[in-house]
Symmetry: C2
Subunit: 471 residues, 2 copies
Amino acid sequence: MYELHFAVPMAGAVLCTLNSRHDSSMVSVLLRHSEAKIIFVDHQLFEVACEAIQLLEQGDSEPPKLVLILDSEHGSSPASLSSNVYEYESLIASGSCEFEVRRPKSEWDPISINYTSGTTSMPKGVVYSHRGAYLNSLATVLLGGMGSMPVYLWTCPMFHCNGWCLTWGIAAQGGTNICLRKVSPKAIFETIALHNATHMAAAPTVLNMIVNSPVSDRRLLPNKVDVLTGGSPPPPQVLAEMEEMGFRICHLYGLTETYGPGTYCTWKPMWDDLPSDEKSRIRARQGVHHVGLQEVDVRDPETMASVPTDGKTMGEIMFRGNTVMSGYFKNQKATEEAFKGGWFHSGDAAVKHPDHYIEVKDRLKDVIISGGENISTVEVETVLFSHPSVLEAAVVARPDDHWGETPCAFVVLKEGCNTVTAQQLIDYCRDRLPHYMAPRSIVFQDLPKTSTGKVQKFILRERAKAMGSLS
Amino acid sequence: MYELHFAVPMAGAVLCTLNSRHDSSMVSVLLRHSEAKIIFVDHQLFEVACEAIQLLEQGDSEPPKLVLILDSEHGSSPASLSSNVYEYESLIASGSCEFEVRRPKSEWDPISINYTSGTTSMPKGVVYSHRGAYLNSLATVLLGGMGSMPVYLWTCPMFHCNGWCLTWGIAAQGGTNICLRKVSPKAIFETIALHNATHMAAAPTVLNMIVNSPVSDRRLLPNKVDVLTGGSPPPPQVLAEMEEMGFRICHLYGLTETYGPGTYCTWKPMWDDLPSDEKSRIRARQGVHHVGLQEVDVRDPETMASVPTDGKTMGEIMFRGNTVMSGYFKNQKATEEAFKGGWFHSGDAAVKHPDHYIEVKDRLKDVIISGGENISTVEVETVLFSHPSVLEAAVVARPDDHWGETPCAFVVLKEGCNTVTAQQLIDYCRDRLPHYMAPRSIVFQDLPKTSTGKVQKFILRERAKAMGSLS
């Protein structure tokens, strides 16, 4: 996939990387929508691809050509390849070194389509331009503090916003790419030690895995490792523990529609002497826009008025600039909606602090309204996370006849901590939050997640709805 | 000048920084040519500015408005200001904070005009665009390995290619700017120690001053200091001594026409174990183009054919891309000449090594042709520099009835080394160079320089010409 991030654009074609966890039915939907002409597929996913193509053939779509990527170490070739399947290495070996690079006619031409990972229902194809990808690559390298020749450990998948544009960024800095077949804390520690990795990027879920890993899986870090994290607000507890282990966290924020990173919480030296928990609280803010983006703001989605910088008034995070998507592929309606008023609407509810740093409070549609008060589910989750027995937590609205909605928490406890009761957790929250914000119901249950580690709250909301009213 | 690098473009105007060493006559020529409307002038240069305006008034040009910048520490206000002179701080204090930022209509609009510093005769006004300045700022920050919040010591003047675009680049990284009223090795060492400077940029002349400074002027560096150097090829000897003192040198190359830095000698780990002199020899190469530039090449200026990567065949360095000037202001003819064949012609003679790193051999017009052989004056100077008694050296062509031209060296000896004779230096060169390349004549004499520290070879060539033929 890394090689193809260069080969495909240089051939004048458009990249469309697919999530490796999609099933064949989703793959066939995306192949049809993207009008893909060629699929490059790793041997581990060969069957999924073949099934997806069969599904396409059952429709009236012309199936794409298939190129199979074998791995001499981990995989073997299927006994026989059918005549319309090519093998990657031999296909390349048969090509000419004197190939012509097909430059884009305009820098605004598309370089890739990234299907959103589906915290909502139907994926949308987010179109990136060459210009935007170039600028976001440089901006991400700069905000990540990558000097010449970084050693980058890939834990954030390359199919996710083209690896936050670091597929191209690492190459621009002459870096080394370290890829893992399977991401686990043990593999992360071993790989860092083996290759002296200097940088990695990971969703908070991965950070959570790291700080909760058994000591026997860990290694001393050979050097400071800079970790770019984003995708959801990282719990302060997790940030603090990562820092203690020798990682240096840069918290960034963005969406598929902003080429991945759009803002980051750039650190001010004046914060160095704050207590550790205060530092983690600040580091969890989404911060300011990077040098590749024109502007980020928090605005009222109806009036488009900018909210005051009081750290309290909620609005919607909006973006504009070169590193905002060109639009949704073949979806004019969704594109127009997303760009209503001339800004891209993120769907995230946030406040602006007096220093203009923004802080996400919730997804706009996740905000719980209880007795007329807005409750940020992220704030409730942060308190739950600070409980020593809690491994994961997600809070959603549960319909309520009296209050309208009440907070309902889905919780996964750490191993060996299953004596904690729902009431204990509720009391814990009531000690630390305004009464109305504390969960009224706690469900101990695994959390449904997308392949990039985001909790799928719409599924939890349905479960909470099915539970009916408490009052 | 730093503030004005932001204020002037934000007012929708075009910057034109002038060399602080120009005399009033040159300043009046540039004011007229640039059609300047307002001059901002430091109190130290107030008289020069007033004289220049008087010269303008003697012509028929409307004189620009004058804004005087006082310095509470070092300067005092002239007794009385005439009615058409404004004082900077009070002028700003009288303005409104609710000003309107006038964005450029197009990103290709001019942001600045930089007059070439005149190693040739008449200055030309090099036009920079907003787009080019943005890209070169980021590229220079990246190649200089500047992380977040660098502490930058200004020794390369801001009037020189807008400080190699680091006026904007340092701001983009949230850095601190340290300015010196007067650049001297003592001031450099003291300032680095006082402010923990992390980066500086300096012409090789300044590096030469540093390595030849008395030990009493030096301080231990509080940290590694990254030094960007360029403007002329740095002598390997100087590079080696700087590295020993704890500076880390990044050698870059460019011209006013390429917004300052265009290429840099990015370091390969495989070179780490080479002997020190070999490392310095490699570090003196101009290297490869940075991420902001489309392409650099070495081509035959007549046929436009790319020279082979043999490290031997000389051609002219040519550039193309976003960070090449828009053109020379009001000089269509010079612009067309400079862009002949679709590439910007640098006027520098160079070779391409097998790894595609370029190496400047000489200015095209400085190359000496002796008995039909090309002689790179830079190579001869490098040998002279390696002599322990030589402080500075510049080699030019001396007309010769028999050979056509022969190399003539102008040399400045180090203090206490004036017993060295011309013949000793000639013998020293003959031991280390092909016979025809060694200087035939040595002149002990101070070197004429531009304000940015470049030796003015055209003056030396005239002197050598006046000496007549040796044969």
